[in-house]
């Protein structure tokens, strides 16, 4: 009974919470009026948009997801220095390349997250996904060893995502 | 010390804005120009933030947020335009 009630009137609880938090952050206040307005928005907007949702794989382990996010942040920080060195260094030695990366994960959201991670970690930009979602094409700024790069992306980013979404 | 740093960093960002402008004018292809515009708006966000720091006012963050959103949408729209134009041909 309670379950059916919440599913009817609170279809996206996590998104409602995020919406509420972002509203308070945007207004930078904890005034009663804004809390009320934020609550109305956080309850009302999911009711309007929940029919448009397409089914997505659920996050299995929130702890793993958090660890993944922290790892990506760390990688962005560390590896940015590498790209900075490349930009200052001699252009003649650059060895750019297009690489096709075979995908093991499926589903729109996990592939999007993997592609965004690849774009944000320096040295690689994801360019296109093949129509059957089996291949991800990436452009590499400086390629030394293709097999090693693919293996690194697979073990460092794809395997944790696979565990997080369980697909 | 802080005000000196703000002026120095503003100068750095102004130099990068000029670099973006050169890339915007030189091209050679359309995606290059869009990329230059994209970088231009991100750098201008930095400049606005520094101005807010210089004035000691948090009001400028609203405009920075607005520019960030509008800039992303316009980049996406321009890319879509390029993609669609090619498909129709």
């Amino acid at each position: 009974m309670i379950n059916a009630f919440t599913r009817r009137w609170l279809p996206m609880p996590a998104q409602s919470l995020i919406l509420f938090a972002v509203w308070l952050l945007l207004n930078n206040t904890l005034a009663v009026g804004h809390i009320l307005l934020g609550a109305v928005l956080a309850l009302g907007i999911p009711l309007l948009v929940s029919p448009m949702q397409s089914p997505q794989p659920r996050v299995r382990s929130h702890l793993r997801a958090l660890r993944y996010a922290l790892m990506v942040l760390y990688d962005i920080l560390v590896a940015n220095f590498e790209v900075a060195m490349r930009v200052i260094g001699p252009m003649g030695r650059l060895q750019p390349a297009f690489v096709a990366l075979p995908l093991d994960i499926e589903g729109a959201v996990p592939i999007t997250i993997l592609a965004s991670t690849i774009s944000l970690t320096p040295g690689t930009v994801s360019a296109e996904v093949s129509e059957d979602r089996q291949w991800l094409y990436i452009h590499v700024l400086h390629l030394t060893d293709e097999a090693q790069l693919i293996a690194q992306i697979k073990s460092r980013y794809e395997a944790p995502l696979k565990e997080i979404f369980g697909c | 010390m802080l005000s000196t740093t703000i002026v120095i960093v503003s100068a750095l960002i102004c130099v990068s804005l000029i670099m973006n402008l050169i890339r915007l004018l030189r091209g050679p292809d359309l995606p290059d120009r869009i990329l230059a515009l994209d970088t231009l708006y991100i750098n201008s966000i930095g400049l606005i933030l520094l101005f807010g720091l210089y004035k000691g006012s948090a009001l400028y963050f609203e405009s920075a947020l607005l520019i960030a959103m509008l800039g992303f949408v316009s980049t996406a729209a321009l890319c879509k335009y390029l993609l669609r134009g090619d498909i129709i041909e």
Binding site: V87, P96, V125, A127 | I8, I13, T39, L49, G56, F61
Partner: protein
């Protein structure tokens, strides 16, 4: 404001400024579009994150209240930067922008344009 905090803020601002400069420098200097794509999407995003963290510390130290707009802007930029980079790469591939001559794996470009799997010998 204690000098230590001022020093920290200055360090963040300088780091941010330098990375923004490097991103734009890369945009100007790198030889072809696809390599150019690398510099602004990453270095500039990181640079801006540095600036934003610096200003967040400043307002926290001076006004004694948490200004969290910066966090929102940083998050927003972190989410949108790879998306716009991806769209730009896609647009460039479909526009047949020429890549640098020594780029490896250019045979893939045709397959990428049609969104097909790579040719078998690759």
């Amino acid at each position: 404001m204690p000098p230590v905090i001022e020093l920290i803020i200055c360090a963040f601002l300088l780091l941010g400024g330098i990375f923004v400069l490097l991103g734009s420098f890369g945009l100007l200097r790198l030889p072809d579009f696809f390599t150019r794509l690398h510099a602004p999407t990453k270095a500039t995003t990181l640079g801006l994150a540095g600036l934003l963290i610096g200003s967040m510390i400043y307002f926290f130290a001076v006004e004694q209240r948490l200004v969290v707009h910066e966090l929102l802007i940083t998050l927003f930029l972190l989410i949108t930067a790879p998306v716009s980079a991806h769209m730009l790469a896609k647009a460039a591939l479909h526009q047949k922008v020429r890549a640098l001559k020594r780029t490896q794996g250019q045979a893939l470009c045709n397959a990428v344009r049609k969104r097909q799997p790579p040719p078998a010998d690759n």
